[in-house]
């Protein structure tokens, strides 16, 4: 069939972007490609001359690349983890959200995973990692855990995608062969549904610990050293919380964007934003609690080196960033989200964006100050990121947007079949579940 969308589909709104993308779509893609190409050139320059083109030096030997690494991986935690939790807790309102979330994970993880390689002085020797790597180094724990997480979350994204692919295949969307290939002969039979559900159930249980492990291990990169400001037991959970925190913010932003662009008001209702933003609020509080206890212990112990870093953050060169972080991550979101009047879509958008910025600053504040204040009496280090580093940051973001756009071009960003399933069954299932919560009727009543 040449003509797609012969018969009107109940969820045409979801298929629309795939079946006839507008012209602006291509303009944006081209724009992004330009940025990415330039970024590529900048990186090539770094390869050619060496890391000297960055702003790093002794003693601040880690800069934007590591910061962004931690930041992106953090964002990636949104997706799979959230959707897994929602699925597990059978939250019915999850249906339009899960996939968007999972896609974030897959793409951002790929980008974040590249950053350590960008950061290498000798990327040409990356193979040493495989032939003479050493498992005692936290960096290798990362390699292992990130690979695991990446594969897991892609699978976790792919499997619930199969039925939707089948829909597209049946509607004869081009390129046929792609959908044919990916749909794995899905026909929506009883048996197939059973298989799918079982696989999903195993996956969601598996994914959660993996996700948690990933960011814990990233925090270990710092926590395993003896450097003041890094060597802290709280770092594992602290990073995980931060990750989920920034992740939720990212989802919210994306949801709002798609809602606007693809006119999904019918699917992404205010209730979804409301629930998620309350989740964001909770995370913000938890994050603040962790930050508080992290610094309080440091301050109260008053170990000189710790204090040097502490004051550097609170009153020194990094004070502006530090307090900005507190505002972006705590004061502003809480202020907005506490109040149901301000908890509107624009309000939520502002809060989420400020959280994303704030979380990036948090990574900055974790990485640089500890390096800039060595234990021995050296002068405090200076770090001014160079044009190269800024470009690579920007490039990373554009790659993310492009990736997302390409995905949205070929696959529905909201799971169609889950929506349908919801339409038909969820009401019934939920009703049953609720009655199951309810106390049984009095036996005496029936006795009469």
């Amino acid at each position: 069939m040449e003509h797609a969308s012969a018969r009107p589909h109940p969820d045409a709104a979801l298929l629309n972007p795939i079946e006839n993308p507008g012209r602006t779509y291509y303009y944006i893609v081209v724009g992004l490609l330009v940025i990415i190409l330039y970024t590529g050139f900048v990186y090539f320059r770094q390869l050619w001359y060496g890391l000297g083109v960055t702003g790093m030096a002794q003693p601040v030997t880690w800069g934007f690349y590591i910061i962004n690494f931690v930041f992106f991986i953090g964002i990636s935690h949104a997706g799979t983890l959230i959707s897994a939790i929602l699925r597990l807790s059978k939250a019915e309102w999850r249906r339009p959200i899960t996939r968007m979330a999972e896609v974030i994970t897959a793409i951002v993880l790929a980008i974040g995973g590249l950053h350590p390689i960008i950061d290498l002085g000798r990327p040409d020797r990356i193979s040493h990692l495989f032939f003479n790597g050493r498992l005692q180094s936290p960096l290798l724990w990362d390699v292992a855990s990130i690979t695991a997480y990446f594969t897991a979350s892609t699978i976790y994204l792919y499997i619930p995608l199969i039925p939707d692919i089948a829909i597209l295949r049946d509607r004869g969307v081009k390129p046929r062969w792609l959908y044919e290939f990916l749909s794995w002969g899905w026909q929506g039979t009883e048996r197939q549904h059973k298989v799918l559900d079982r696989a999903m159930n195993i996956l969601m249980v598996m994914v959660i610990p993996i996700a948690v492990s990933v960011h814990t291990i990233i925090s270990y990169i710092f926590a395993m050293t003896v450097q003041p400001g890094w060597h802290s037991t709280i770092f594992g959970p602290y990073f995980v919380v931060g990750a989920i925190f920034s992740g939720i913010a990212a989802i919210l932003v994306l949801m709002i964007v798609f809602r606007k662009v693809f006119h999904l008001e019918g699917y992404l209702k205010h209730i979804h934003f409301n629930y998620l933003s309350i989740l964001l609020l909770i995370m913000s509080l938890i994050w603040f609690y962790f930050t508080f206890s992290e610094y309080l212990t440091g301050f109260y112990g008053h170990e000189p080196n710790e204090m040097r870093v502490f004051w550097y953050k609170f009153a020194g060169d990094f004070a502006p960033y530090f307090w900005a972080m507190i505002v972006c991550n705590f004061a502003l979101p809480v202020a907005i989200l506490c109040n149901s009047k301000t908890r509107t879509i624009p309000g939520i958008l502002i809060a989420s964006i400020s959280v994303i910025i704030g979380m990036w600053m948090e990574r900055l504040i974790i990485v640089v100050p500890s390096l800039a204040n060595p234990r021995l009496p050296y002068p405090t280090g200076i770090y001014i990121p160079s044009h190269t580093e800024w470009m690579l940051f920007l490039g990373g973001i554009s790659v993310f947007i492009l990736g997302y756009m390409i995905f949205a071009r070929f696959f529905p960003v909201i799971s169609i079949w889950e929506i349908e399933e919801g339409r038909h069954e969820s009401a019934k299932i939920v009703a049953e579940r609720i009655t199951s919560y309810m106390p049984d009727p009095e036996p005496s009543a029936t006795g009469e």
Binding site: A57, Q58, L139, L376, I382
Partner: protein, 226 residues
């Protein structure tokens, strides 16, 4: 066999000759002004200055600072490719062809002794000729640091082998110890009772930098009593 160094701050006048000798002996690149302003100067042997008290009780301590060659090195643990490791003689060595330049060891070193080749190491035109032929020049993008002049150990061993005898004290001296006019830097085998360092290491004045970290440095300072 555990090589170690004792630096007697009571003798040291802080003349900085050790630093100069080290740079030339090990072909440590000379970093041009613009770079060194960013803090990329490479000194395997550095000079720390500590101001104690206020005038008229002001005392200034000058402490030569090589790599501490810790017995429990925080740097070797974190290296993902074993580009830095502690050899069986206690020297924390760098394998330049192995290093991937992740700079994790630099971040992990509490003494900040490591330096990184941000660009291709450059020598003043002319001096490239006069670089020490016994020491390899590092490529761009790898971490480097004091090696206790391990190349001299190799040569000393060969010499000893050639003369069919064991290493004697003084056969193997790093450039800094060799060049110290006041003899403040003593080098030798910490485990060998006949070696001077063994005695000095147990002197009541002996102290180590950041001892409480438990890194067990093999560079021991004899503190200034007057």
């Amino acid at each position: 066999m555990k090589w170690g160094m004792v630096i007697d701050l009571q003798k040291c006048t802080g003349c900085g000759e050790c630093a100069a000798a080290c740079k030339l002996e090990n072909n440590v690149a000379i970093v041009e002004p613009r770079e060194s302003e960013m803090g990329r100067t490479m000194l395997w042997m550095d000079m720390l200055t500590i101001y104690e008290g206020e005038y008229p009780r002001l005392r200034v301590r000058q402490i030569p600072r090589p790599c501490m060659h810790c017995d429990h090195p925080p740097c070797t643990k974190v290296c993902p490719v074993r580009a830095t490791y502690m050899n069986e003689e206690g020297i924390v060595a760098q394998i330049y062809p192995q290093c991937i330049g992740c700079r994790y060891c630099m971040a992990a070193c509490p003494y900040t002794v490591k330096s990184f080749n941000w660009y291709k190491p450059s020598f003043p035109p002319g001096m490239d000729r006069a670089t020490n032929p016994d020491v390899s020049v590092r490529p761009v993008g790898v971490v480097e640091k004091c090696t206790f002049c391990i190349h001299r150990l190799q040569m000393a061993k060969e010499q000893a082998k050639f003369e069919a005898r064991d290493l004697r004290e003084g056969d193997f001296q790093p450039a800094c110890a060799d060049s110290c006019p006041t003899g403040a830097i003593v080098f030798g085998d910490l485990e060998n009772r006949d070696h001077q360092v063994n005695h000095l290491a147990h002197s009541p004045r002996a102290e180590k930098l950041l001892e409480d970290l438990g890194t067990e440095p093999k560079v021991i300072y004899l503190k200034e009593v007057d």
